[in-house]
């Protein structure tokens, strides 16, 4: 509602400083968090378009459903653990004297790395089973969508590694609080994306 109210004001009638110190209409949030939220929408658009393409392509006659490897359930558990660890780190970072913060944060990243390794193993097992990239569009979509998801995780791991290095070199909890919060948000987002992708890929 307030957006409409903002858009309805008559700027030629209002003079003076409006909104005090803060420019009216700015989010009550650091710029980094706003930027990340924008990025999450962009990434959602990318994954949605892949998903739509998947369903359109599925309708065509040459589609042969792929039975997803059972290992994906194990990988999913790894990614959930990763998210849980990040959430733990986020909760700890809000306390004054956080203990185990390093364990929680680094642990989250390690589980994400294990998830990616697990995804690579599913690729290898599919290859070994003769499900090549080019043999069917269902296979191609599997490799493509899991690959793009893993690439997003790798991007997150790059930020995670930078933040970990800062923590290792003695940065205090308050200095890395925002980084931890944004990593946590990003990891939760990628977990949700993965759950949707998993459901979509399984739906053949």
């Amino acid at each position: 509602m307030s957006v409409f109210k903002h858009l309805a004001v008559k700027p030629w009638e209002r003079k003076g400083v409006i909104g005090g110190l803060k420019p009216e209409g700015a989010f009550d949030s650091p710029a980094e968090r706003v930027a990340l939220n924008f990025f999450l929408v962009i990434a959602s658009v990318v994954f949605s378009l892949f998903t739509v393409s998947y369903f359109i392509r599925m309708e065509l006659p040459d589609w042969q459903p792929l039975s997803e490897p059972a290992q994906l359930w194990f990988n999913t558990a790894l990614l959930i653990l990763s998210s849980v660890f990040f959430q733990w780190a986020h909760n700890l970072s809000n306390s004054e004297q956080p203990r185990n913060l390093m364990t929680a944060f680094v642990g989250g990243g390690v589980f994400a790395i294990l998830f990616i390794a697990g995804q690579l193993m599913t690729w290898e097992s599919l290859q070994a089973g003769g499900y090549y990239l080019t043999s069917n569009p269902a296979n191609a979509f599997y490799y493509l969508m899991t690959g793009v998801h893993a690439a997003h995780l790798l991007g997150g791991l790059w930020v995670w590694s930078k933040c970990s290095i800062r923590m290792l070199s003695g940065a205090e909890a308050k200095d890395v609080r925002l980084s931890i919060e944004l990593c946590t948000l990003y990891w939760h987002f990628l977990l949700v994306v993965w759950l949707v992708l998993f459901a979509v890929l399984a739906n053949t």
Binding site: K15, L21, P23, A31, F50, T134, P137
Partner: protein, 596 residues
């Protein structure tokens, strides 16, 4: 982390101060330097696109008059001209160039939110241009599949550049999208979070609104092109069949099977139509500010202008399939897209009415930027009206793939935005360089460009009605196209060469003025918006000296009755406004600052 208002961060804000010449001018994090870099790369790329157009125009006007323009080169030139002009020239120049220069200055900020990412953006853009240009030098040359890159044509042996050319094109686009996303995040977040004290969204100049909404369109539309490019790269490089159907080439079947070329078209145009508005909305914003300043009158219907920008931005995502009426879609589907397409004409027409009404009874100063801005209103109306023809399915079907389409989109998103670009460059040249340009040369440049553009594109509408198809290397003899069509084509080519040559005037003017131009006084047009109120001309690194500005009013207080002058800058407090006894500006007696 609690939000700290920007105004309070003033003293602590970390500025990246350059330590060397390289940091100041090459790997600079200053938004103004980055803007110039973005603009220069875009203009260079645009000149390549212009040269290509002259080469294929020579072929169309005077067939086989240029030795190396064979059918392959012709298709490559047409394709690269389209892609370069739409993506690498206009998008980059409006968002990367003007977005970078204007947003922090008009928002009263010291720089973009993420200056380092901003620098990465321009260098990534340069890499994408280098990859694109590299395709001219690889075996087979650049792709010649048409700028829409429709499969399966892109990958067929008969299409020039079907091997390396198309791969480099797709990789270059992907890199460009990364650059745009990094830049776009900066522009959007800066507008939202880094406005100075008192600057509400509804006090922003329309330039910022146009660039802001176009940025959001770019952020959400380019992913569709990215997805399409990635899947097509898979098809081309790895042999998948996302888009590639079963094709028999020279009697032998290709390795692809069952893909959907139509899926590519949907993805492409889901990006492609918002792309039109990614180019148009910044142009709408810039031209609004130029018109208002030189008409010495507030923009008519400011709120409606903002609403129209937002509405056009939203609607642009649900009209894409009007580019695909001939793809064999379901008639109801076509009906839906024709309806949304015609609805988008409503906010667009509102904007045109408001520009005209801004001029109505304005105290118009016919300075060179104003020539271009008024010229834009003409070309945009003409381009927009032919859009009504093409938006209707039954009229589009016979006109599809004819010169009528070429004429329409060149008027609406070629000539019109470029006239705005010239208006904007001339208008803000004093701000960017501290020098005035040569007024006479600029006006001559306008007349040659404006009349020349009509000489090129008006006859093309007629060729389209005759049924002359686009993308043909030679017309040959047909029953329905008279031989005189060829004469018209020759005339168009001559006009195109004249218009291209006229652009030399622009470059001479810029270079001459940079060296010998009259020193610009502060705020030479008497503009009310914030960018002209910076303490230095051109603004120094950090833009605002010691203290950030505070904004007390909107950006269009022109010819306010009772004011000292015929404009009141945005950072002028109410207390400075004169009382009844004091001297105030009399338009009949006093000289406006905008008189140069």
């Amino acid at each position: 982390m609690a939000y700290v208002p920007l105004a309070d961060q003033d003293k602590e804000m970390e500025m990246h101060h350059p330590h060397s010449w390289v940091e100041q001018y090459v790997f600079s994090q200053d938004h103004k330097v980055i803007a110039i870099q973005y603009g220069s790369i875009a203009v260079f790329t645009g000149l390549v696109g212009l040269t290509l157009s002259l080469l294929f125009r020579m072929q169309l006007g005077f067939p086989e008059s240029v030795d190396f323009v064979d059918p392959n080169f012709y298709y490559q030139a047409v394709t690269q001209h389209g892609m370069i002009m739409v993506v690498y020239f206009l998008t980059a120049l409006f968002l990367g160039g003007f977005g970078n220069y204007m947003i922090p200055l008009m928002c009263g900020a010291r720089d973009m939110v993420f200056p380092f990412m901003n620098m990465l953006s321009v260098w990534t853009f340069l890499i994408s241009v280098i990859i694109l240009m590299a395709s001219f030098f690889v075996g087979g040359g650049p792709t010649g599949a048409g700028w829409t890159l429709y499969p399966p044509q892109t990958a067929m042996a008969g299409t020039p550049g079907h091997d390396m050319g198309i791969i480099l094109m797709l990789v270059s686009l992907a890199v460009f999208i990364i650059a745009t996303t990094m830049g776009g995040l900066n522009y959007a977040v800066t507008v939202l979070q880094y406005r100075c004290r008192g600057l509400t969204m509804m006090r922003l100049p329309l330039t910022v609104w146009g660039i802001f909404v176009a940025t959001i369109l770019a952020l959400f539309a380019f992913p569709a092109l990215l997805v399409a490019a990635i899947m097509m790269l898979f098809d081309t490089l790895l042999g998948t069949s996302f888009f590639m159907p079963a094709v028999i080439e020279s009697g032998a079947p290709l390795d692809h099977n069952g893909g959907s070329p139509l899926l590519f078209q949907h993805l492409f145009w889901f990006f492609g139509h918002p792309e039109v508005y990614i180019v148009a909305l910044p142009a709408f914003g810039l031209v609004s500010d130029v018109l208002s300043t030189h008409a010495r009158k507030n923009i008519f219907g400011y709120r409606m202008m903002v609403w129209a920008i937002v509405a056009i931005g939203g609607l642009s995502f649900i009209v894409w399939a009007h580019h695909m009426y001939v793809s064999g879609m379901h008639p109801y589907f076509g009906f839906f897209f024709a309806t949304t397409t015609l609805i988008i004409a409503v906010p667009t027409a509102m904007k045109v009415y408001n520009w005209v009404l801004t001029l109505w009874e304005g105290d118009i100063r016919l300075n060179a930027p104003m020539y271009f801005a008024i010229g834009f209103i003409f070309t945009f109306i003409h381009g927009g009206l032919t859009g009504l023809f093409l938006g209707n399915v039954v009229i589009d079907l016979p006109l599809s793939d004819t010169y009528f389409v070429i004429a329409h989109f060149h008027m609406v998103m070629g000539v019109s935005p470029i006239l705005v670009l010239f208006a904007a460059i001339y208008h803000w040249f004093p701000l960017m360089s501290g020098k005035m340009f040569h007024e006479g040369m600029a006006k001559l440049h306008f007349w040659l460009t404006f009349l020349g553009a009509y000489a090129i594109y008006l006859p093309m509408h007629y060729l389209g009605f005759l049924g002359v198809p686009r993308r043909y290397y030679v017309l040959g003899e047909t029953d329905f196209i008279p031989m005189s069509a060829q004469d018209l084509n020759a005339a168009i080519t001559i006009a195109a060469i004249f218009v291209a040559a006229a652009q030399i005037l622009f470059f001479v003017n810029i270079i001459w003025s940079l060296k010998n131009g009259k020193k610009a006084e502060k705020n030479p047009w008497g503009s009310a918006s914030l960018e002209w109120q910076a303490p230095d001309l051109p603004p120094k690194h950090g833009n605002w000296g010691e203290d950030l500005p505070t904004v007390y009013r909107w950006a269009y207080d022109y010819s306010v009755p009772g004011a000292h002058e015929d404009f009141i800058p945005q950072n002028t407090p109410e207390s400075v406004e004169p009382t009844a006894q004091e001297d105030h500006f009399d338009p009949d007696k006093d000289q406006s600052k905008a008189d140069i």
